[in-house]
């Protein structure tokens, strides 16, 4: 069922590091988390030994950076003709989709893990709730997986990485803002309560906020898990469409 998954995962992961892409991404990710945490988040002003100001900006960082990681996943295969090669190797569709997704997720996870000096700093300065910080990291990784699955799915629909990037940013932004008061108010005016609730429940922001505070809810894990499953299934189906060109 998952044939070829590990071989593809290994190839993809190595692929990030043979070009400067990986290094640029990691450097920018770390620099921006720093800027956001210390400058915008007021880490020191808050005077609290926690990483709330660090996690708060993750969704916004991910909206721009994750589609940049995901955009090449399938669009590049389509453009380069390697999709045909990959499809005629003894690899299952599920194995290929999962292998690529996991490679991107591991890569983003690595970038996230490299923010560990943040955790050291806060432990040096005070006595934070390390359980809450761990929950924050888990939540951030889950949310990154959600964004990545959306990006992978969009990337499978096009040959152009630029289109994949732009569409992914918009879709991801949609998921983020779904919980925003402005969006909710917009729907409240005319839509039935069930629709408003449905839209609000799609929000990454609301779910992530809780996790950033250290509260982990099984429903949030299920939400991100099913989002990833739905997006990757769609990803597989999209690959079969448009093969004729």
């Amino acid at each position: 069922m998952m044939r070829g998954c590990t071989a593809i995962l290994r190839r993809e992961l190595a692929g990030y590091f043979v070009t400067p892409v990986a290094y640029i991404f990691i450097v920018i990710f770390l620099a921006l988390t720093g800027v956001f945490t210390f400058e915008l988040g007021g880490f020191f002003d808050a005077g609290q030994a926690d990483l709330r100001s660090f996690f708060t900006f993750h969704p916004w960082l991910y909206v721009c950076l994750i589609p940049a990681v995901a955009m090449r996943l399938w669009a590049e295969e389509r453009r380069g003709g390697t999709l045909e090669l990959l499809s005629t190797l003894p690899v299952t569709r599920a194995g290929a989709v999962l292998g690529k997704f996991l490679a991107a997720w591991v890569f983003v996870g690595l970038a996230l893990a490299l923010t560990f000096p943040m955790w050291i700093t806060v432990n040096f300065l005070g006595e934070p709730d390390n359980g809450a910080i761990l929950t924050g990291y888990v939540g951030s990784l889950l949310m990154a997986g959600g964004f990545l699955s959306v990006g992978a799915c969009v990337s499978a629909a096009t040959r152009s990485q630029v289109i994949a990037f732009i569409v992914s940013v918009v879709v991801c932004l949609g998921f983020l803002l779904a919980g925003y008061p402005a969006v909710i108010d917009f729907f409240k005016g005319w839509a039935p309560a069930s629709v408003v609730d449905a839209v609000a429940s799609l929000s990454f922001l609301t779910r992530f906020d809780a996790m950033a505070k250290g509260v982990i809810d099984a429903r949030d894990i299920v939400f991100f898990g099913s989002l990833i499953a739905v997006c990757l299934t769609l990803n597989g189906l999209l690959l079969d469409a448009g093969k004729g060109d």
Binding site: R3, G4, A7, I8, R10, R11, A14, G15, V18, T19, G80, G81, T82, E84, L85, S87, T88, L89, P90, V91, T92, K243, G244
Partner: protein, 332 residues
């Protein structure tokens, strides 16, 4: 495998059809293609551009599902047993796609791993394919920096990595210079020699068919229009048995008149005058009337008229001529 029965043909295509789109925009790429390829055969899949060669190969290798019909490889249907078939097929897609950032070494290792060849077996498979395709000198260079000829060889190495009983190549020499073409053809012949293998290669280059193929299938507008050996196909040509001769222009009667007057000649083509180190030469091709011994008649004429003949050649038939006839001289 295959219930213990011997596998007679490694590839069997049965009424393979492919339509793209629906309704008014429906395009029929492959109308109905049927043929089979046995072990040891090198089949040239010939046709004008757009005739459906690539689409047929994509169905054969499991990339595209057929609209109807079946593609059977080593006794099993590509659609019902895709993994089983893909393990036994080596495929060089058109343009030999490969990951440009990777080196041939890492690319081939990846392909080996995907095919379940790990550790020692993987190492051996890669070394063998590298030796066969002479990639030793560029193993650590990114594929995007390689010349077209080397890229094609990387694609070929990938296709033969697992010693597949069935090898499918889409336009293996397209876009290469004459030296590279020669090299790739040599590789294909080497692969054919490894024995017991069925090879299908598509092309629209006729000299290629004559150079490497044991059989030829011609396809036009999605249908098979001929299936035979290159020699017997060429024999269908109206040039079969024609005589081409070059001679110094004689002082007397024009050779064109003499040749045209022969009972055995159906038609004479004047190929013009050329200056060669041997002096000025005029060349004619004389097409035979059916059942007549043209060569003897032309020889007689040359003797009687005291021509200084530089060269005389009996034509076995011209494949390009037959190709044009079969495919209607036009592509879509």
């Amino acid at each position: 495998m295959n219930d213990g029965k011997p596998v007679e043909s490694l590839i069997r295509l049965e009424n393979l059809c492919k339509h793209f789109g629906t309704g008014a925009t429906r395009i029929t790429a492959v109308e109905s293609v049927t043929f089979s390829v046995g072990p040891g055969e090198v089949l040239g899949f010939l046709g004008p551009n757009g005739a459906g060669k690539s689409t047929t190969m994509k169905m054969l290798t499991g990339y595209l599902p057929p609209t109807s019909g079946r593609a059977i490889v080593c006794g099993r249907d590509v659609q019902t047993d895709p993994m089983w078939v893909k393990e036994r097929v080596g495929y060089l897609p058109e343009g030999a796609p490969a990951y440009p950032d990777m080196t041939p070494e890492s690319f081939l290792k990846f392909c080996a791993r995907v095919r379940g060849l790990t550790g020692r077996a993987g190492h051996e498979a890669v070394s063998r394919a590298v030796a066969l395709t002479h990639l030793e000198g560029v193993l650590r260079q990114p594929i995007e920096t390689l010349s077209k000829g080397f890229k094609r060889r990387v694609g070929l190495a990938q296709a033969v990595l697992h010693r597949p009983p069935v090898l499918v190549m889409d336009e293996p020499t397209d876009g290469l210079d004459p030296n590279q073409k020669h090299e790739v053809r040599r590789l294909i012949r080497d692969m054919a020699r490894e024995g017991g293998r069925a090879i299908v290669l598509s092309t629209h280059i006729l000299e290629e068919v004559e150079a490497v193929c044991t059989r030829v299938v011609v396809i036009a507008r999605g249908r098979v229009v001929a299936d035979s050996t290159p020699a017997s196909l060429a024999a269908r040509s109206r040039y079969r048995g024609a005589v081409t001769l070059s001679l110094s222009p004689p002082a007397g009667r024009s050779p064109l008149d003499v040749l045209s007057a022969l009972d055995e000649a159906a038609q004479v083509e004047d190929l013009g005058t050329a200056r060669t180190p041997a002096g000025e030469l005029v060349t004619y091709t004389v097409l035979p009337r059916a059942g007549k011994d043209l060569l003897a008649a032309v020889e007689r004429a040359a003797r009687t008229n005291d021509w200084k003949v530089d060269q005389m050649r009996l034509e076995p038939g011209r494949l390009d001529d037959v190709f044009r006839d079969l495919t209607g001289g036009a592509s879509r």
